[in-house]
């Protein structure tokens, strides 16, 4: 068993900054992440875009990194069971920092299972990983601040952005723009994206009704205000803002709301020795995640002056998080046809779920959420579609090898 002063779950900006600040105060730190490299979804690898602190963190002798490592179970006595591509480990922590980030909310619509329909951040991630986009026609639809940087990125890489269809109303978007005025760097960023997207049709109050195609998406039907349009395209990037990854916190018994892990102002969850930072505390973006990384290190090391400094900074960044949530966190859905798939893993349709009264019934009777993704897509979707709450989170948190689970025999039954 390996033991660390602090284990950080997630090597994104929040986790890396926490690790750097903890190691600079002499703490032995481990970071675990299921991706092949650090950086999280925003940096995807710690290159030139990443901050100096994040890059430095990866060279610290006090920081151990576990990449391509999935957290399989949270155990008693401050232990974690993790799985690497070839092995499994039990890790012990004194303090645990959840920096599990966020995922896109993907809401079902007719045709959304066709190849060529991706998340918005999903399409960007795939292009960064080598997928060709030059010359492809892309419709970006849904809602959220992610739309802008991704549209600019895709255009820069040669994509033809056919249209951006944002669900929110113009007054709502304008109000959000006014909030940005208090954050000069973000306002500057937003204006830069707008400049890069000159000439791209941008429609507010617009919803995807259906995506067409047989083996690949070839078009999308959009309700724009009172009328409908059919657009031909190669890709539909569809996303409805972000939802925090809460399953790890829930597995540990931490209180959560649908939007965040519940914490004190100083980032403590309701479970002793467990903290939450970054998107897990509610979608707040990069600067917020970095500030909370610094703050959690100051809190753990009881560094009073740093606590006061970073606490103020977090409060400032969290005001923007509130504006983001007010603007984007309540996406609407167009009425679904009975044959629209809701659970992609098990092919459970909207019609099949009509008689399920809650998430548990849907799981037991229809196998909704019982496939490999373990409800990470349809769980959040059914919460929005039907108002279902989450069920108890049980291990294994991710599909695991039998050999990994067998490691539990190495520890006493009381500690499992």
């Amino acid at each position: 068993m390996h033991s660390y002063d602090v284990i950080i779950i997630g090597a994104g900006p929040a986790g890396l900054h926490a690790a750097h600040a903890l190691a600079s105060r002499g703490q032995q730190v481990a970071i675990i992440d299921d991706n092949p490299a650090a950086g999280g979804q925003i940096w995807r690898g710690v290159h030139n875009h990443a901050t100096q602190s994040a890059r430095t963190a990866l060279h610290s002798p006090l920081i151990t990194t576990y990449y391509q490592t999935r957290l399989i179970a949270t155990l008693a006595a401050q232990q974690l069971l993790v799985e690497t591509p070839g092995d499994a480990h039990l890790l012990h922590y004194r303090q645990l920092v959840i920096a599990s980030g966020a995922r896109e909310l993907l809401l079902p619509v007719a045709g959304w299972t066709l190849p060529g329909v991706t998340g918005i951040g999903g399409l960007q991630a795939l292009v960064k990983a080598g997928m060709p986009i030059a010359g492809k026609r892309v419709v970006i639809a849904g809602t959220g601040p992610l739309i802008w940087p991704v549209a600019a990125f895709l255009r820069k890489h040669g994509a033809h952005i056919v249209a951006i269809a944002e669900q929110q109303s113009l007054p709502r978007l304008v109000r959000f723009g006014l909030h940005l005025a208090r954050y000069p760097s973000k306002l500057w960023q937003a204006m830069s994206y707008a400049t890069q997207l000159i000439g791209v049709p941008f429609w507010h109050d617009s919803h995807v009704i259906a995506i067409s195609g047989t083996t690949h998406s070839t078009g999308v039907r959009i309700q724009r205000g009172d009328h409908q349009l059919q657009l031909a395209c190669d890709y539909v990037a569809l996303g409805h803002h972000l939802v925090p990854n809460l399953d790890i916190a829930q597995s540990l018994g931490c209180a959560t709301t649908p939007a965040a892990v519940t914490t004190t102002d100083l980032l403590a969850t309701t479970v002793p020795h467990v903290y939450a930072i970054g998107e897990a505390r509610g979608i707040g973006g990069l600067d917020c995640a970095i500030a909370e990384g610094h703050l959690v290190a100051a809190v753990i090391c009881q560094d009073a002056s740093a606590i006061s400094q970073w606490h103020q900074r977090v409060a400032y960044e969290r005001q923007l998080a509130t504006a983001i949530a007010t603007t984007f966190a309540t996406p609407t859905t167009t009425p679904l046809t009975d044959d629209t798939i809701v659970c992609r893993c098990e092919d459970v349709s909207h019609g099949q779920l009509a008689h399920s009264r809650d998430w548990r019934t849907a799981k037991l009777q229809q196998r909704c959420g019982m496939g490999p993704c373990q409800g990470r897509i349809c769980g959040a979707a059914t919460q929005h579609l039907y108002g279902w709450g989450p069920d108890t989170v049980r291990p294994p948190l991710r599909p695991a090898r039998v050999a990994t689970l067998a490691l539990l025999h190495a520890i006493s039954p009381a500690a499992r």
Binding site: D34, N35, P36, Q41, G45, Q68, R103, E104, L106, T113, L114, P115, G116, V117, T118, G119, G121, G122, L123, Q124, A125, L126, V127, K128, A129, G130, M131, P132, K136, T215, H216, D234, Y235, I341, R344, C345, E346, D347, G371, P372, C373, R376, I377, P399
Partner: protein, 87 residues
């Protein structure tokens, strides 16, 4: 960046060493292609790009259900899906 050669459904393909398997498959076909049939036989492929949705799973070096979006390409890697994976 350095390049490597892997095998996609038994065909050699050379790409950047920093690509994911999902990226390499799309590159080899110039677009996203079906890499999986759903339980009811519908075509599927990568969606979230970040290890959440599990739609991109393929067989890598004989091990089924590996996530193409979270696996980096490697020299000599054997990636199969569809009929090639069943063979």
């Amino acid at each position: 960046m350095a390049t490597i050669t892997l095998f996609i459904n038994n065909h050699p393909y050379t790409c950047d060493a920093g690509n994911s398997v999902a990226g390499a498959i799309a590159q080899a076909h110039q677009q996203l292609v079906t890499t999986r049939q759903s339980v009811h036989g519908m075509p599927r492929t990568a969606v979230c790009g970040m290890g959440i949705c599990f739609e991109c799973r393929v067989t890598i070096n004989g091990v089924a259900h590996q996530l193409a979006c979270q696996t980096l390409v490697a020299a000599g890697m054997q990636v199969t899906y569809g009929e090639a994976a069943d063979a």
